[in-house]
Symmetry: C2
Subunit: 283 residues, 2 copies
């Protein structure tokens, strides 16, 4: 039987690959690609069976580029997961902690491990373009005085060793990922499986005071709980007042179905991006 | 007279420095710092007079880390601006376009100039940790076959030449910046200066359906226009349902003052982060 494929943006060992493993299973072959557009294209064009994309991070916010792609490509969100971003100090085989004089990683990762560098003044931070890529580089170059900060998966893939686990300052650093497929490839799933469902949608309203308030009444008047709302107030664009909204519910439930009908009356544009079992954000 | 200072995160020539020039004037001395925390601390601790921070980008979304710092440091938003992110191909003095074989920049910038690379197949993309930093590197190393992608300001600072202007694929790439000062350092400004004012605030509500809807009624029932709303749905944190909201209005206006009073009744926590003349997002 042909193995299924799941694409993601980044180098092998990226946090997206960890999410891909969780969402598509360990049997699916991971396909690393350089850009998010290529990830969406890989599924839309039939080269890959599924894609995994980051959609928001608790420190950095939403990935608007991916919301844009969700609008433009006709893919469907089929599941979500939250991955805790754990930064590890990683070194090539044979290099021990006392050998380390410099540590490579993406500047965002370096800046999320400041306490480690404060406690180890002799170690220099060196900016690199990617977390997993820095592990790849230090192992390929066989550096004897260098470490990298990246995921445990990156250590595994590049056959390097974790010298110190979880050196990040803030443990409340989570990224939310979506698994996307073509709508036709939807696995028929009964709502009766005990999961609590979440629905993600995008809509636009005219720029008049109270327009959003009216749209939210569709949910509030039916006691449906919103878990996310975000506006995109970019001027001079046709989708000027775009809102992303997640609520707890499944369009097969009468209240959720009626709320979506009510919202469709009020919004200029409305699209349901997917409906999927809600994941827990803290593990 | 002592020149005032304005801190920002990044290397000299970063887009934040362009914003700092706009918001603090060309007389203020720019102070580049490695992290956002250090930028906030520089003003809170009195080392710098003002700070400029990015708060959201039209492609990448809000910078939640900076919203967090706005909560934890007692600084005030005193003005805002939108800077269009223009990527230029930059080379050291004496290097011409036909010499270029590789181009260094931050991967995000490289990926925002894909059309340029499609049209110039002989040129290789090389990931680097920073846009302005890549100009610094190619000029310091006197590379004769390399270019960098960065702001025009970076070309200026490192005495390099712009070979091609504005090579980014999407021109709708704007970053919104705030100028922050200590509340005591507030320049007394009359609301009668003809500007339209915007107020930024943050509040929390209990996780019950309709709680946000009620809070928004404080604005909708008074015809006050919201320009941004964003939730931060991270579980297991004391600020579990944090909302960032911007609306057009000044707390000296009766309707805005009443709306804030009404919101204070409904919200668990409410803080006004600043009130400032609204900037236009398209220039």
């Amino acid at each position: 039987m042909k193995r299924s494929t799941v694409s993601f943006q980044g180098e092998a060992g990226a946090f997206s690959q960890i999410a891909a493993r969780e969402l598509a299973g360990t049997d699916a072959t991971p396909v690393p690609l350089p850009t998010f557009v290529e990830v969406f294209e890989s599924v839309a064009g039939g080269k890959c069976d599924a894609a995994v994309i980051p959609i928001e991070n608790t420190l950095h916010g939403s990935v608007h580029e991916n919301y844009d792609h969700l609008l433009h490509f006709e893919l469907e969100i089929q599941s979500e997961t939250f991955v805790r971003i754990v930064h590890n100090l990683i070194a090539p085989e044979g290099v021990s902690f006392r050998d380390i004089r410099r540590v490579f990683s993406h500047p965002v990762a370096l800046n999320q491990c400041l306490r480690f560098f404060e406690n180890n003044r002799g170690i220099e931070k060196v900016s690199f373009y990617d977390t997993a890529g820095s592990v790849k580089m230090i192992t390929e170059e066989k550096l004897t005085d260098a470490g990298a900060i990246a995921s445990a998966a990156a250590a595994d893939i590049y056959k390097a060793r974790i010298l110190k686990k979880s050196i990040e300052d803030d443990r409340a650093n989570f990224t939310r990922f979506f698994l996307l497929r073509k709508p036709a490839a939807r696995s028929k799933r009964s709502r009766e499986d005990g999961s609590t469902y979440k629905t993600s949608l995008v809509f636009t309203v005219r720029n008049v005071p109270g327009a959003l308030f009216k749209c939210l009444s569709a949910f509030a008047l039916r006691d449906l709980n919103m878990t996310k709302i975000e506006s995109r107030p970019l001027r001079g664009k046709p989708w000027e007042y775009l809102f992303y909204l997640d609520f707890m519910g499944h369009p097969e439930q009468p209240s959720a179905k009626n709320a979506l009908g009510h919202l469709a009356e009020l919004a200029d544009m409305l699209r349901v991006l997917g409906c999927y079992p809600a994941a827990k954000s803290t593990k």
